[in-house]
Amino acid sequence: MTLRRPLLVLVALVLALAAFACGGATSARRITVWHAYRGDEERALKEVAARYEVERGVKVTLLSVPFDAYLSKLQAAVPRGNGPDVFIDAHGRLGTFTKEGLVADASGAIGEADVARFDETSVRALTQDGKRWGVPLATKCLALFVNTRLVTSEIATLEDVQKLRATLPASAVPLAYEAHTTYYHVPFLHAFGAELLGSAGDFAMVGRGAEDSVALVRDLTKDHVVPDEPSGALVKQLFVQGQAAVVISGPWLLSELRDEVPFKVQPLPTVAKTGKKMRPYLTVEAAFVTPDGAGKPDAVGFARWLGDDASARTRALVGKQVVATKSAWADPEVARSSALAAFHAAAADAVPTPTSTRLQATWVPADQAIKKVLRGEAEPKAALDEAKARFDDVMRPPPPSPSPAPVMLLAGGALLALAYFGVRRARAPGFRAELTRSLPVYRYVIHAVVTVCVLVVLPLVAGAATSFFAGGRGETRFVGFENYAQILTARGGALLGHGSFYLTLLVTILWTVLNVAAHVGIGLALGLALARPWLRLKAVWRVLLILPWAVPSYVTAVAWKGMFHRQFGAMNAILTAVGAPPVSWFSHFSTAFTANLLTNVWLGFPFMMVVTLGALTSIPKDVLEAAEVDGATRWQRFRHVTAPLLLPQLLPSIMLGSVWTFNMFNVVFLVSGGEPDGTTDILVSEAYRWAFTRDSQYGYAAAYAVLIFLLLFVATRLLGARVDRAKAKVA
């Protein structure tokens, strides 16, 4: 009865893995650098780092971190000393960095004397509280790409662009840019004297100027100066194929352009109506030194090294960066790239992106407002006022710290109840004997109990515990049940208002029911079809139909998102082929929801099919034959024999499938992304948004997670009882 041997093997395995993990001791002359560069920029960085290694004899480990995970990795790693010594990131997160102590004062890398070596705006962007926090490396801002074949005149004002409409062929558009994206709208905003974020950290995209700017873009779209729903891919394609006279884009477009069209780059024009320049946001990429790195001369030295003249030259030539080091622009080879020089000139006029952490919360409401206006669903004023209200809702001050008494009481009560039932159970007659008998069995389950408790339950409980706290990182405080209260009262708004818990819950339920119904329906039909005794090539059919199961779900989601693309997606190609107008999938709830649904149905039906196939094999043939002899028709046999025998076997799978669908984050987040306007979000993706795009309200997100858990737990318990009854009936 001994399980000692596998236990030992397991322990050995774990130890081996642990040893594996701890391998690689650190030496003093070694620094780690994080970045999110790809392609040319990465190549340039490697070259610069290699030179540093040779010159200083320091091993530089470069790590390319996926952009999506960049900030959360920094937040997780740096405070625990697992982070890099130096990292390269946009200055826009400086507010977060300083607030959370992720960066150190970089005066060592960029001293008073060095300031003059860099572009003035870029240094200003990195200065906060009188300290310089990073070495400016490169700038990115929007500029105007002009197709010099289509446009021969000078473009000085936006009105000049508008006028192109008259001279261009109908197949070409005067101006293409991602009009529904706030980042691209900011230059228009500035041209009307408005701002996105006020100096007090308020949502400032309201009032006359802002309304006029949005109205202008609406009119541009109406007049076919700007195409409908231009995605980045469409903008690029229009320009590459010579169908757009002018596009607004950033330096990243340069790497996509070859010699298809002759073009030049120039700073954004002026809006003649207001006489103001369209000043875009300026992103300054900088080398930041972490608190760990600040203690290493090699790390500080590397940050400095990145910004010096030779490095800047390499980054400009190899990495095609708009470097912030002045001396590089004196280099004749660098100056030869007129496009880079133009971006450099544009940067001088640009407004550094505010570093306030509150900026992050402006994007989503502002995007939604612009989209609504462009779609003609709302007037600019109404849309922008609503956006402000949403911003204020998200950024509402954390509730006051209440006394911890209610939470303690509840926790205490729960513990007491647990203890009471425990003791009652223990006092029950025969319990002792039962326990004695159970003891040897525990040797079988102890590994699983420990593993699951430590690595699954503990993190979940820890996650759940954060639901009693509020506030972003670094300023969390205890708020008791306030998060729950706010969620359940829809934060004082209408109970079924936009973004309320109840509305999202309804969507989630609709999502789950439709999905599971489709999974079961299709799975059942295919399972029954594949079980036909006369069907040939069963194995082939089966393999082809199982295929979707074998594809990772995020690949599926991203691929389907591409298939629903307005201009290049396969779905609209099919619609066009059958003579239907193409659909803008993500601008209406019904179509966006359908897109999500189609994706998830594709993803999930093979599982139910296989389960059905398996369950079918367990239905005794003679029962069906008996029914046939009894004169039952094919349908009656299915309805009265197969189905009642099949269903109890399928129910556990259906239940599990429902739970999975209820929490199917990947599809909703990656396909529709909640579009339009967050209406297709389900509870899980809503929770994710609170945690990662709305001022890091982890506590609020955790409360969502706990509510999801409670809902599912209660629902499955109720369903489970019914399943047992259904099973008992058949057995």
Binding site: M1, P6, L10, L13, L17, A18, A49, A50, T61, L63, K73, A76, A77, Y444, H447, A448, V449, L455, V456, L458, P459, L460, A462, G463, A464, I522, L526, L530, R532, L545, I546, L547, P548, A550, V551, P552, A559, M563, Q567, A570, A573, I574, F605, P606, G614, T617, S618, L624, Q649, P652, L656, W660, N663, F665, V684, Y688, A705, F709, F713, T716
Partner: protein
């Protein structure tokens, strides 16, 4: 059932199957076409997705990534994925098997509560546990390592594996073990020499699921891994979808490279998949 199906039945069944296969294959073809095209989304098109100018450039790009020392980075990352996924399957199964066996065979105090708790872990959105997991692995000094990743993956795969295997074990007649014990085996020997081999299909399928969950996971991997040469393939794939632009061609090529091994495993295991899932019954 009838030996001779009506023509109508034949037609309906075949229409259904053909329709379903078209539905199942279309996105796959679309991704393949994307992978063989230059110029991202606009490089493919039409109702039947065909690359405008077929090229293997995307595959060359994805496969050909090297690190600064010129070592074959994609190879390393492929190896990571394989090692991590295999280890996850092995550890997950090793932990789940004894527990599932106990649940299938013995009554014991706390069994009901344990099963309920296991089921409950499946209901908690994982979004909530990423940060605590990071802190935990940090304490264990297992951050940035395949080992840590394996432990986390294995642990998350354990509850489902236990449900699967419990069903499988409870379908294996107790007689077999008793026969072995009468033949002179200890309970443990009976378990290892008789029950385990008899449950092989279900164990294979469960291992496949654990393997797949590790092979496809990217959120935790992106959080817990910090060295490029330690990345698993999904993290690499995710990098192709960046801030300003999506490298659709590379993404599609990578997606195909990631999916092909799992498809191959499914093909090999398809028979066991049906019987193994049945045995497991995915009983909740």
């Amino acid at each position: 059932m009838d030996d001779k199906p009506s023509v109508l039945e034949r037609v309906v069944v075949h229409l259904l199957l053909v329709g379903a296969v078209a539905f199942a294959l279309y996105p796959v073809l679309w991704v393949v076409s994307l992978a063989l095209s230059q110029g991202g989304l606009s490089g493919t098109g039409g109702v039947v997705p065909l690359p405008r100018a077929p090229t293997l450039e995307n595959f060359r790009l994805v496969l050909g990534t090297t690190d600064p020392d010129g070592a074959w980075l994609f190879g390393r990352q492929l190896a990571n994925s394989i090692v991590v996924s295999l280890a996850t399957a092995a550890v997950g199964i090793a932990v789940a098997i004894p527990a599932a066996y106990a649940l299938a065979r013995f009554p014991f105090v706390g069994k009901e509560a344990g099963v309920r708790a296991l089921l409950a872990t499946q209901m908690f959105p994982t979004v909530a546990s990423a940060v605590p997991l990071y802190l935990l692995l940090d304490k264990l000094h297992m951050l940035d390592s395949r080992g840590g990743l394996v432990l986390v993956y294995a642990a998350t795969s354990v509850p489902f594996a236990i449900f699967q295997l419990r069903g499988a074990f409870s379908q294996i007649p107790v007689d077999l073990e008793e026969a072995a014990m009468v033949d002179g085996a200890t309970r443990f020997q009976a378990f290892v020499k008789v029950t385990l081999p008899a449950a092989r299909p279900a164990i294979a399928v469960t291992a496949l699921f654990a393997f797949m969950s590790a092979w496809n996971e990217f959120i935790l991997a992106a959080t817990l891994l910090s060295r490029e040469d330690a990345f698993t393939l999904p993290v690499v794939l995710q990098r192709y979808v960046g801030e300003h632009d999506a490298a659709w061609g590379s993404f599609a090529a990578g997606a195909i490279l990631v999916s092909v091994p799992v498809m191959a495993l499914f093909y090999v295991a398809q028979r066991e998949l049906v019987s193994g899932l049945t045995a497991g019954g995915v009983k909740g």
